[in-house]
Symmetry: C2
Subunit: 349 residues, 2 copies
């Protein structure tokens, strides 16, 4: 019927301004599709001259492999999933981490897919989804718990991942963490050096790993510097800011108020200051405060808050590098890193 007698693969690809495919290059070079594919991968059984020619044509056409084709054929998605709790700390924490990840992925073939979820709901759901649908080659998770079922599941399924924060499990896995133990220790040390001995700590939610590290550093420092803890009460660093404020106010108005405050969260610190001012106390006079922050804005708040910066952006970079390395088969124990606290130099007054 059809008077076209040339073989299928040598047919001229559809005209128009469609994306070039291997077929296009094959047609233009007079080679087979397979040859082109292998030439672009620098396979050993393709002639040097041919490779050169193929590469030239490919770059002229601006050829880029069709992701769906590759994915369907090989199962490789070229996607890294970032699983986030939708209630993640607001003050730029999440976006900084994203940008850090993006910086690294920009130099690779990987795209970044965001998979947020409510953290009241089952935090396993997005992980299961990604595993079951194979929709990513690797995953980055945050809000790691000491015994984290997500880590167990991904390890069991041999799925590459990296966690923001350590676990307390027997599983060796890639992570990046901030040294909250040292932060807490140094925070107490700082307050002690200012003559403060009655210290309260606004700690993370107890179920998260970094709660433990924070507490350990805090308690070790209390012992070291002969300070005592003034209990913060039921509030964590993730409580609504008005609860943080009123709790702080109550604490300062109690019979036995602290003279030193440590905050693990920059945004909560704002509310803590509001609370102590509401109780008629002043920073630098009645009480001093040390806070961790992931943006720089506390540096501009007066009276002075002593701050330590956690570079979440750097964390993002490390995590991205770790997952990619893991995908490439690097052993998990080589992909663990901890960043040390960096004290801010005060902004000029």
């Amino acid at each position: 019927m059809d008077d076209n007698t040339i073989t299928k693969t040598r047919q001229s690809p559809a005209s128009g301004n469609l994306r070039p495919t291997l077929k296009t290059i094959a047609y233009m070079t007079g080679l087979g599709i397979t040859t082109v594919s292998r030439a672009l991968k620098d396979a050993p059984d393709i002639g040097a001259e041919t490779k050169e020619r193929v590469r030239l044509v490919a770059s002229q056409l601006g050829y880029q492999p069709n992701r769906a084709g590759v994915r369907l054929r090989t199962g490789k998605t070229n996607v890294i999933a970032l699983v986030l709790s939708i209630d993640e700390e607001l003050m730029g924490f999440t976006s900084q981490m994203m940008f850090g990840i993006s910086e690294v992925l920009a130099g690779t073939q990987y795209h970044l897919v965001l998979t947020p979820h409510m953290h009241q709901k089952d935090p396993m759901a997005p992980v299961r989804y990604i595993l079951d649908t194979g929709s990513a080659d690797g995953m980055i998770i945050s809000r790691t718990a000491p015994d984290d079922p997500r880590v167990a599941l991904m390890t069991e399924r041999n799925f590459p991942f990296a966690t923001h924060g350590r676990t307390d499990m027997d599983i060796v896995h890639p992570f990046h963490d901030f040294d909250n133990e040292t932060f807490a220790f140094q925070a107490v040390e700082k307050l002690a050096s200012l003559g403060r001995r009655r210290i309260t700590l606004l700690a993370p939610p107890a179920k998260l790993s970094y709660y433990l590290h924070t507490r350990i550093g805090f308690e070790r420092a209390l012992a070291t510097f002969g300070a005592t803890e003034v209990a913060m009460g039921r509030i964590t660093s993730e409580a609504p800011l008005d609860e943080v404020r009123s709790q702080m106010q109550m604490l300062m108005q109690s019979a036995d108020p602290p003279d030193g405050i440590i905050s693990i969260s920059g945004s909560a610190s704002i509310a803590l200051v509001a609370g102590l001012e509401a109780a008629g106390r002043r920073l630098g006079t009645d009480v001093d405060m040390v806070s961790k922050q992931s943006a720089e804005f506390l540096n501009w708040v007066r009276p002075e808050i002593y701050t330590v910066n956690e570079s979440v952006r750097q964390a993002g970079r490390e995590l991205a590098k770790a997952v990619i390395a893991r995908i490439d088969g690097v052993a998990p124990d080589l992909l663990q890193s901890i960043s040390e606290p960096v004290w801010s130099t005060m902004a000029p007054r």
Copy 2:
């Protein structure tokens, strides 16, 4: 050679715990792959009983269409791309927007892919990439300019998108914007009501659309309330915070300092306060301040800053709904929305 005589499509799918495909369902129901495909799409030429059976088996197996298969065949990516400048405002702005978008996408088949770029570099690059590689079905862009080449390009290529911020072009396109004109007007009004008449404005970068709206509202209000502008100088709301601080300090120490300050950015406001305090002035006494913010933290800063909340999360929701509607063919003029300023009630002291 092969003694297997049943037809190809009726072969038992590979064993093991692989994902079910149409083939799996076809095998289990004894139907053809085509029938299963059409049954799941509720096509008119499939019997009601058959559809029921297919749906049952599919849900039993937890069948989910393979995205790569669909994408390769139909060209539909089921991806929405969020194009961000890597220097986007830090204070939670970006993550809030993402979460808003995610909320909407969670109820759909769409995944969210993040495509950040340096904004010093060609902001067209990521847009071109997405258009050329067809890596998304729709796009959301921010930092819209009055004459934005990205909008022109996407419109020309008939690619669905929504912008955060309006343009000043002849092109009708989906957008969501905050009413910065009304904000600026009301900010002056508020300051005027406090007896302030010498007002300075920390405005957005001049190349962005919302600079214009802000200026228009500001100038209209100056005329209405008989106030005058004290020029802020070369600083914009995106300047490094220490430059914002020192510029504010200079301004307050000049011969002719303002008694009212309007800030378009929450994070810059912190630095503005630091600057005016460095100059020995106090908020509420020498000067009053109105600021827009996209997180709630300014509510906790003392002395009091009058604040307007821009819900970036809501913006994200609107934008996501708009792109999806656009993909579904809804006319662009029906997909434009503007949100009005909401003044914060002061947090209790």
